[in-house]
Structures are given as C-alpha cells and as structure tokens.
C-alpha cells in the first residue's frame, strides 16, 4: 500500500510540474486534482514509447531510475517556476479561511466517499471479466515478460486473433504494470484516485457555472452518489478513467472557446482519453471543434494544441499497423480504416437494419440519460433566445456525438452478430456524456433563474 501511495505521489509531482508549465490559469485545486491522473498518463506513454525499442524499461531497476528522473525534472521545473509554486502553496495554506459550510460539506463528503471506495477497492481488487483477461492481465504480462510478444504469438489461434489484446491502448495496463513491478498489488488505488479527482473537479466546475449553492450542492450530490460512477470507480475497466479525461476535456474546451483561450488543457485531456480508449471516435469531434475555434477566433496557433491528440493517436495507430503486424500476417486490427472499409461495403439490406440499431441505442440512452436530457431541454426551452445562444457549441458537440454513436453502433452491428447482447457496453459508452450533460443542466437552471 505504501508503494502504491508513493507511486501516486510521484505521478502527482510530475503531473503538477507539467500543468504548471503549460497552463498557469488553472486554479491550484484544479491543478492538484488533475496532477496525478495526468502524471500517470504521461509516465505510461513515455514508458510505452521507450519499451518499443527497449523492453527492459519494465524492469524494476529501470523503472526506479525513470521515476527518479521524472521527480528530478519536476523538482527543477518547480524550482524555476517557484513564484507560481509559492502562490499555490499560499492558497493551500489559507484553505481554512475559505472553508465555509458549503465547501466543508463538499470536501467532507468527497473525502469520506473516496475513503470508502478506497477501502472497497483494496478489498475487492481487480476482478471483473475483461479486467482479469485484458487490462490487468496485460499489466501482469508486462511486469513478468517486459513485453507482450509471447502473448501476441500465443493469441494467433484465438477466435478473434490479436484484436482482443490490442483492442485498447496500453495506458491502464502500463499503470498496472508499474504497480506490479514496484511490488504492489493495490492497482485499484489508481481508480480511487480518479474517483477523488473526478468529484473534486466536478464541484469546481459546478461552482463556475452557477451562483446558487443549493442547485450546486444538489446536483453535485447526484453525481457523487451516482451508482454508475460509484460502480465504475470500483472496477478496473477503462470507462471511468476515459470518462474522467474526456468529460473534463470537453467541458474545458467549452470554457476555452467561450473565453477565447488556448485549448491546450482540453487537447491534453482528450489525448489522455485516446491513450485509454482509441476506438471511441468522439475525439474527432473535439479535434474538429478545436480547429474550428482556431479559424473562427482567427488564432491559427491554436491548431498547435492538436499536437498531443495527433501524437497519441498516430503513435498507437502506427504501433498497431507496424509493430504488431510484424508478428503475423493474419492480423485484423480494429482500426478506423477498417471501420471505414466496412462502412463502404454496407449493402441496402444492411442499411434497412439501421432504424433497429438506432432504436436500440436510443432506448439505452433514454433509460440512463433520458431524465437529465429532458430536464436540460425543458430548461433550454424556458430560456430567452439571447440566453440560448451560448448553448450552440455544446449543442453542435452533442448532436455530432450522438450521430457518431448511431453510426458507430450500426458499424458495430455489422461486425458483431451479437451486438445487441452487450447493452452494458453501450451504457458505459454513454457514461462519458453524463457529467457534461449535468454541468450543462446546472448552467441551464442558473440561466433560467437569471431570467426575469
């Protein structure tokens, strides 16, 4: 447990230093909440890149050196940026002054629920089906063999060949490998930490969009006590870390667009999301919107923010098509290209199934998000046209995402005959939209309250 906590602390320092370099406008609490998840994403990506040519990076000795180097670089960075660091420390020091009743309730409830999740996670460990066979298993193999080569060779005879072990990028598996190599089996602490960061950032986001403490607290409570997030935080599936990075990436992008600020943090968060779930194509929409922002706001340098997204996406795509393909001629990797190929082969008969697929997906959507969507739409309907104008960007994002969900599900139905047999998967897919819709709803209620 000490090793696990130490690892999280080191990743926190690295993430904090990175955030201090790239975005000083974040509040200290946002920086602290984001630091460890971002730090672990960065660490895992660096380890992955190095491991392609130097698999021994997964040995305990090399990882210790790498972590030490990370801490050293971070300390030097913090020393250079000590002015900002001292300002942050001063804010932390004066936390007691800012702790009014509302903040105390929020902080207390976040800490207590996180502790509860932490204990449950320590007890249960990683145990779900795909966690055991894929996400955690890859981590165990990396810790044991320092590469997945043997696994790759063995899976040549599998029913779906390599697509299973390479169906998701390596982020969470490398984090698990880090734990195992460093001598801890408490991999679930990572998910408890994400749960903490998720709730903290949610509250900070709600504070931004409404002045009404009652609404803020009530909606925050709904998210904090959401059975979906509570369950997801206790499993090592990729959905919850993905939801974390994706939701805040989108929300911070809306803010950056509105305030005409550099969308670097959103792009970085979306890149982290891709590094967890590459197949979910929702990042295309955000990337497109970032490019649109650069054009509309006439700030072409904003396009540079797409670099993290492109780097992560292209690296994984290259790895799949180049490195993994070396091992066999039988490879059938699940890539956007192969999806596009499938789309172009769709027959009229298959197209006739589209309404059925759409209805199936809509039913799941309405079951889980119908209430919040209806409330949001009702709120928007009650607003004045001038107030409604600020929602066009989220509306475009939402409509494009839903269109993508429908097309994606249709493609999925073409590839897998039993596509309708896993509604849980569709449910988890929608979980990345929940927080965004709730924040929009709070903003909508706030605007409705302002309307005289």
């Amino acid at each position: 447990m000490i090793t696990a906590c130490l690892l999280l602390l080191i990743s926190s320092v690295i993430g904090y230093a990175l955030l201090l370099i790239i975005h000083r406008q974040l509040s200290v609490w946002q920086r602290l909440s984001l630091s460890s998840p971002i730090g672990l994403s960065l660490l895992s990506f660096i380890i992955f890149i190095i491991s392609i040519t130097y698999p021994e990076i997964y040995s305990a000795r090399q990882l210790h050196w790498l972590l030490l180097a990370g801490v050293a670089v971070s300390v030097v960075t913090l020393r250079v940026l000590r002015k900002q660091l001292l300002a942050d420390l001063a804010q932390i020091k004066h936390i007691r002054r800012k702790l009014d009743l509302e903040r105390s309730i929020v902080l207390g409830s976040i800490v207590l629920t996180t502790l509860f999740v932490f204990v449950l996670n320590a007890a249960w460990g990683p145990y779900d089906w795909d966690v055991m066979t894929l996400y955690d298993f890859r981590g165990r193999v990396l810790a044991r063999d320092h590469s997945l080569d043997q696994l790759l060779d063995m899976s040549a005879g599998d029913a779906d060949r390599y697509t299973y072990y390479y169906s998701y990028p390596m982020m969470t598996s490398i984090v698990h490998a880090l734990y195992y190599v460093l001598g801890s089996t408490q991999v679930m602490t990572f998910y408890s930490l994400i749960f903490f960061s998720f709730n903290s950032l949610t509250y900070l986001e709600l504070r931004k969009v409404t002045r009404h403490a009652f609404i803020r607290l009530a909606i925050f409570g709904l998210i904090l006590f959401s059975p979906l997030f509570f369950t997801q935080a206790q499993t090592a599936y990729t959905n919850f870390p993905y939801t974390f990075f994706f939701s805040f990436g989108v929300l911070y992008f809306f803010e950056a667009f509105r305030k005409q600020k550099t969308p670097l943090i959103p792009a970085l968060l979306i890149a982290c999301a891709i590094w967890i779930r590459y197949v979910d194509p929702f990042y295309y929409i955000v990337a497109l919107l970032i490019a649109t922002q650069a054009l509309v706001q006439k700030k072409p340098w904003f396009l540079l923010c797409l670099i993290p997204i492109l780097v992560v996406r292209q690296t994984w795509a290259w790895y799949l098509t180049t490195y993994v393909a070396i091992h066999s001629t039988l490879i059938q990797v699940f890539t956007p290209q192969s999806l596009w190929h499938t789309l172009t082969q769709v027959s009229l008969k298959q197209l006739a199934d589209l309404p059925g697929v759409v209805w199936f997906v809509m039913k799941i959507y309405l079951q889980h998000l119908g209430g919040v969507t209806a409330a949001l739409l009702a709120c928007l309907a009650l607003l004045s046209p001038a107030q409604r104008r600020r929602y066009w960007l989220p509306a475009i994002w939402f409509a494009s995402t839903m269109a993508m969900v429908m097309v994606g599900s249709f493609l999925f139905s073409l590839i897998y005959d039993d596509w309708s047999g896993i509604p849980g998967s569709a449910e988890r897919m929608f979980s990345s939209l929940i927080l965004i819709l709730y924040v929009m709803l709070v903003q909508g209620i706030d605007d409705w309250f302002k309307k005289t």
Binding site: V119, W124, F137, Q150, P227, T231
Partner: protein
C-alpha cells in the same frame, strides 16, 4: 345550486380557508405516506403501483402539502405535536436501519428479506421521508428569503431533485450493501486468494492446473460453451495459466501434453439443456497420469419420506432387505433401483417408495441431505391402475446443499393437468411411486471430477479435432465422401459413444467398415442399427433398403458386397 356556482363556492372556500385545508391535508397525508411505505417495505418497492399508487408521488405530494402548510403561517396544533415526535421516530428508524444493515452485511445479501420479510431499501426511503419532513421548516425559512420570481422556480427544481434523490439513494444503498457485505471477507486475503474467492468456479481448478503443469505445457481445455463459461474461455484460462500454450476446438489446434478435466459443476443445474456435453473430456485418453482434485462423491442421504399414506417405508437398499432408517445413494447406482426408462434426459431416478394410492388428498414430503453442486428434484411415477399407463410428474428441483425438505403438494391436481394437456381421460384409480431425480447419470468418464490428465505422448487423431457430437458427425460425413475410410474409422468409437442411436451415424459407420472390408460383422450391426434408428424419412429407409438387398447367404459369410466404384 348549479355546477358553476358550486365551483365558485369551492374556490371561495379554498381562498378563505386554504391554510386550514393545507394543514388538514398535510396531517392526513403523513399516515397515508407512511402506510404506503410500510406496505411496500413488507412487500417490495413498487408493489402499490399495481393498484395505481406511486409511493414516490404520494411522498412528494405530502411534502408539497407540508410546505404549503408552513407557508400558510397558521400551523395546526397536530402538526406542531407531530414535529415533536418526528425526530424520535427518525432516530428509531435509523437505529433499526443500522442494525438490519449490519446484519445484512454480516449474514449476506437477502438475509433480512428472508428472515424478517423486510425490504431494507424501503426503510431507507422511510428515513428519507422523515428527514425531509423535518427539513420542511428549514426549507420554508430559506425559501421565504428568496425574491418572489425565484421562489416558484426553486420549489419546482427542488421537488424534481427530491424525486430523483429518493430513487438514487435507494439504489446506492443496495449497491453499497452488496459491495460491503463481501469486502469484510475479502480485505484480509492476498491477491491470489481474492481471485480464487471471486472466481471460485474456475480459479480452484486453474490454480490446481497451474501448480501441476510446467510452463511449456500444451493444455487442452473445454470447449467455449456451457457448462464451461469460464474454463471454456481461453482468455480466462490464459489469465491463470500464462505462459502455457492453450488449445481447444475453436481456439487453435495442436497436440496437447495435458488435458483439463472439468465436469462443469456447479453449472449443471443451470445448463440442464446441455446434458449431452457435461463432463470434459468426452473420452478416455491414454493418460500417463491422472490428477483429480479432491474427488467427491455425489451423495444424497434420504432421511425420511412422509406422506398421508400409512407407514410409507423407504425402499431398502438391497431388494428384499429391511428398512434400516436411512438410504445412502453413492455414485455407484448399481444397488439402487434406477428407472431410466421414464426419463427424457436420462437422469437417474432413484425410487424411494413402493406404490401408494394417489388421490386428491395425497401429499408427500421428502427430507434429504443433498451434496453441494447437485440439483435434486422429487418425481412421481404415476400408474393408471385400469390401463397400466404410466406418467412421470417432475417437481421443482432443489439445488441447495445440506438437509432439504421437498414437498410434493397437490400431486393429484398436477396429474389432472397433465392428463388434460395430453387429452387423456381421468380414470378412477391411480398409484404413485415417489422417486428422486438425483442429477445426471450420463456415463461420461469424467463426471463429477475436476483435475488434470497428463498424456504420455502427443496424440493427433482426427477425433481430437472434433468435440461436439454434430461436429464429429459432419467430420465423419466429409471423410466418407472423400473416401478416406481409414481416417473415418478412427472416429467411429468416439461417435459410437456420443450418439449410438443416431441412424445417420450408424449408416456412415456401416459404409466405412464395408468399404474397408474389415469387421464385417460390426458393419452389419451398424447397418441393422441404422435401419432401426433411421429417422430422416420413414417412407424411404435407406439402410433398410440396403439390408433387404443383401443375400442372406452372403451375410452369413460375413462378407458384405462392396459398393461399386
């Protein structure tokens, strides 16, 4: 008074006495809400919906009336009195909830429901409702401070949120209980022990295999079908046995050095429709070593059979012996009466009693000690005394281990239903024999075992590449059509074990042996079997036709004429 005047009067009355009306309605709404909640707590949440009553709406209505009563400024004395009592009630509810939740966590999910008939999550709603009632004066004070335009909006939003909260907290409560109840047991376990506990069906066997095989072993595991949802899934097996090479019919082929023995328990009862597949592997391999995990016997100890028939004895173990007080049935059924002719699924029926008269007064009660992992069901074998026709009545299976009492209530009514369904007349006299369906008696070599076979040398026969009976049949068909009779012959023993009564198999076996020219007597037997079991088209029984063309003299010489090229 006209209806318009009546409405006007009601409106007037409301305007003048609305505070009193709100107070009155609020006072009445509280016992109604509590009564509804208590009924649902004793039944299940949502029970009253079948009578058109949504408890959550009742609660919200009650709270809305309460808020209106507080806004009226003239609080009824009963309400004031009630508010003095409510904190006490809330404390009591919380106390009960804590006690019951702790019991549930310690004794397992569903214990409180089973023991006390109370749905815990509805008690949470009762506590929430009481809490919400207590918060009404505070909410009223806060709302009063709001400017007029915000007041209505805040109330609407608050009530909508309250509605969502009621369900969410209930759902969370169930979730937290479910997670916590096992956490207490798991938290002290090591990583390996925890996996073993959470993946209990697969982990014990796979850890056993891991311990007893070298890392370069090539292991054949069960097919990916029921009853092997876990040990049949190569990704799961690999999680436990990595870096050993794994093979299975759909998961890559090769020559195994080891074979997993898995009877599929405790999934037998769950997958009763797959009875022809239980017990892996399907055939006996020439093993160098057989390691079985704590082989356990299927054991049912019948304590008693009670009935309203006089002095109904349990049949003695040995025919002609005397009843010794208990009957122990082990996996060796040879000394027990097994009436397989009555069963469709080839279950072993163990007859417990002699025939007793069956009428509308008859009932039976069987007390038996059931082994872990078996479904056991009472069965009645009914005989119509006038026609000697027999009927088998199956009753609900009990798959709980330990001493279990199984009731056969209203067997005569069940018989009447059966006769009605089969359009048979109800005659005057019936007798019944009580039997126990004690699980699956299919003669598989590795029934009731889990473990590992170590093979002496690598085996590579055609029979290795097919596992399911139908797959093997199609493989045999292919080989016959390819005129590869020597390979086809290797499949015959396996198919004979898997589907001895299949007409088509017997026909293909006949063709194979006839063309090989060896075992002519066996070929003839297969042909006769094929003629008997042929079921493709009774009007055109090909094997019978072939049989009829054979000269009896030739047949006597055991020299069947071969097909012309």
């Amino acid at each position: 008074m006209s209806s318009a005047n009546r409405v006007t009067a009601v409106v007037k009355l409301w305007n003048t006495n609305w505070s009193s009306i709100c107070n009155q309605l609020f006072i009445y709404s509280i016992p109604v809400a509590y009564a509804a909640l208590f009924i649902e707590a004793l039944r299940y949440f949502g029970f009253l919906k079948r009578y058109g009553i949504d408890v959550s709406v009742v609660i919200l209505l009650s709270l809305a009336l309460g808020l209106a009563a507080f806004f009226s400024k003239q609080l009824h004395r009963t309400v004031t009195l009630l508010y003095a009592f409510l904190p006490l009630f809330l404390m009591g509810t919380m106390f009960v909830l804590t006690i019951l939740s702790t019991t549930e966590i310690h004794k397992g999910i569903g214990h409180v429901r089973m023991e006390f008939g109370i749905q815990l999550s509805t008690i949470v709603i009762i506590a929430l409702y009481t809490g919400a009632l207590l918060l009404l004066p505070i909410a009223h004070r806060q709302l009063e401070r709001l400017p007029q335009p915000l007041l209505g909006k805040t109330i609407v939003v608050s009530f909508l949120l309250l509605y969502v909260y009621f369900f969410r907290i209930q759902e969370m409560f169930d979730l937290v209980l479910a997670r916590t109840s096992r956490a207490e047991d798991l938290i002290t376990k090591t990583d390996r022990e925890r996996t073993g506990s959470l993946w209990s069906h697969a982990a014990a066997l796979l850890y056993f295999i891991e311990k007893n095989t070298p890392e370069n072993a090539v292991i054949l595991h069960p097919i990916q079908d029921n009853p092997w949802p876990e040990t049949g899934n190569q990704y799961v097996v690999r999680r436990f046995l990595y870096p050993r090479t794994l093979i299975a019919p759909e998961w890559g082929k090769g020559s195994p050095t080891h074979i997993i023995v898995d009877d599929g328990s405790p999934n037998h009862a769950q997958y009763a429709d797959k009875l022809d597949r239980i017990g892996w592997p399907y055939e006996i391999y020439p093993s160098r070593d057989v390691l079985l995990m704590d082989p356990w016997q299927k054991q049912i100890k019948v304590e008693s059979v009670a009935s309203n028939a006089e002095n109904l004895p349990i049949l003695p173990k040995e025919a002609g012996g005397t009843y010794s007080g208990e009957l122990t049935i082990t996996k060796d059924f040879d000394t027990t009466t097994i009436e397989t002719s009555f069963t469709k699924l080839e279950y072993a029926l163990v007859t417990l009693t002699p025939a007793v008269p069956l009428n509308d007064q008859t009932y039976f009660k069987i007390t038996a000690d059931i082994s872990e992992g078996f479904a056991t069901a009472p069965v009645l074998i009914v005989t119509d005394e006038s026609t000697q026709a027999q009927y088998t009545l199956y009753f609900s299976a009990n798959d709980k281990p330990g001493m279990q009492t199984m009731q056969i209530e209203l067997p005569y009514a069940r018989l009447k239903e059966l006769l009605q369904a089969e359009k048979q007349p109800l005659n005057s006299s019936y007798t019944a024999v009580v039997a126990l369906d004690v699980g699956y008696s299919k003669p598989m070599p590795f029934m009731y075992h889990k473990g590992l076979l170590t093979l002496p040398t690598t085996i590579n026969t055609p029979s290795e590449t097919c596992v399911l009976p139908t797959d093997c049949l199609y493989q045999l068909e292919d080989l016959v059509y390819q005129k590869n009779f020597s390979q086809a012959e290797l499949l015959l023993p396996k198919l004979h074990a898997l589907m001895p009564n299949n007409g088509y198999f017997n026909y293909l076996a006949f063709i194979t042996l006839r063309e090989l020219g060896t075992h002519q007597d066996l070929a003839l037997q297969y042909l006769q079997q094929a003629a008997h079991f042929w079921s493709v088209d009774p009007a055109y029984n090909l094997p019978r036709l072939i049989l009829s063309t054979y000269d009896p003299e030739t047949m006597r010489q055991n020299n069947l004429p071969k097909a012309k090229p």
